[in-house]
């Protein structure tokens, strides 16, 4: 699910987490409230994913530039996306990631996606 960024920018809808949501996912100031993973899903990820599905292209999620991603945030966001569509395949087929800052992050997210429907919400 990882890919070379430059070559494919034009063929995807892009979502840069650090720019479009927060540079500190899962580490929030009191005033910003709780549940950032679910908030990211509802306010950003779902909308972009739906747009990608409508236009029949993939959503490219750029994970770089953030200070790190807790499991709680990733599971709530991407696991939550699977639970919203009730389909691991739909998410896997239409989502691509870039992560140069953390080389194993994509593998971690893939695990959360694969296990999302097994989780008791």
């Amino acid at each position: 699910m990882g890919i070379q960024y430059r070559e494919l920018m034009d063929k995807f809808i892009t979502l840069k987490v650090a720019e479009e949501f927060t540079k500190t996912p899962g580490v929030r100031e009191e005033i910003e409230g709780n549940f950032p993973g679910e908030q990211f899903l509802k306010e950003v990820l779902l909308l972009k994913f739906e747009q990608a599905l409508k236009e029949n292209i993939k959503l490219l999620v750029d994970l770089d530039g953030a200070s790190g991603y807790p499991t709680s945030f990733l599971e709530a966001a991407f696991g939550g996306l699977v639970r919203h569509y009730k389909s691991v395949q739909t998410v896997r087929d239409n989502l691509i990631f870039i992560s140069k800052d953390d080389p194993y992050l994509i593998g971690d997210i893939e695990e959360y996606i694969n296990d999302a429907l097994k989780k008791d919400v």
Binding site: V27, S67, P70, T71, D102, P103, Y104
Partner: protein, 192 residues
């Protein structure tokens, strides 16, 4: 530099030999025939005198250097895991984890991922045996389990606390990581 030194030493040896024959040759009863066994012995000694330092020892030192580099990387990996463990164990079970601590933990996990990737690339570069590469996979799986435990649940909540049970489980996982990293160092040391 080494070749020049070798040539100089060889030349000195030849000059000394010629000097001895010239000045004290009458005191020695030199034969006209060359003994094949003695000649083979001299040539073998010369060959070993050249081969051992330039090839064998150089090869041994090179492998030792690579092992030291790898072990330093594994040590750095261990330090980051230890740092996270220390952060978790120092958190109070009744006080929410502060944002700075969370940021620090997440930053350390990112460094761990990068250090692990570098190790993987080094093992590919030196064409390490599959059993060593498999250890990287094992440690990565442990890394993920450990990260899931330390930053999972409701880590992103402002009110998140590490319970007593969570801290015990963290300690168990951290010990497992230390064990596997120690085994990796043993495997590296045993490399030919």
């Amino acid at each position: 530099m080494f070749k020049v030194t070798y040539f100089i030493v060889f030349a000195i040896g030849c000059c000394l030999g010629a000097g001895v024959i010239h000045f004290w040759g009458s005191n020695f009863d030199l034969g006209d025939e060359i003994n094949i066994v003695d000649l083979s012995s001299v040539l073998t000694t010369l060959f070993l005198a050249f081969y051992i330092p330039t090839v064998l020892e150089k090869n041994r030192d090179s492998k030792k250097f690579v092992k030291e580099i790898i072990i330093k990387r594994v040590d750095a990996l261990q330090q980051n895991f230890d740092s996270i463990s220390s952060s978790v164990s120092s958190c109070d079970t009744s006080i929410p984890v502060v944002q700075d601590t969370k940021s620090d933990i997440l930053g350390k996990f990112t460094r761990i991922s990068n250090d692990l990737k570098v190790l993987e690339q080094i093992f590919d570069e030196i064409k390490a045996k599959q059993i060593i590469k498999d250890y990287i996979g094992k440690i990565n799986t442990l890394r993920r389990r450990y990260k899931n435990h330390v930053t999972g649940g409701r880590f992103d909540l402002n009110s998140f606390v590490y319970t007593g049970t969570a801290k015990i489980q963290e300690s168990v996982l951290a010990t497992e990581v230390t064990k596997e990293l120690s085994f990796l160092i043993l495997k590296i040391n045993a490399l030919q």
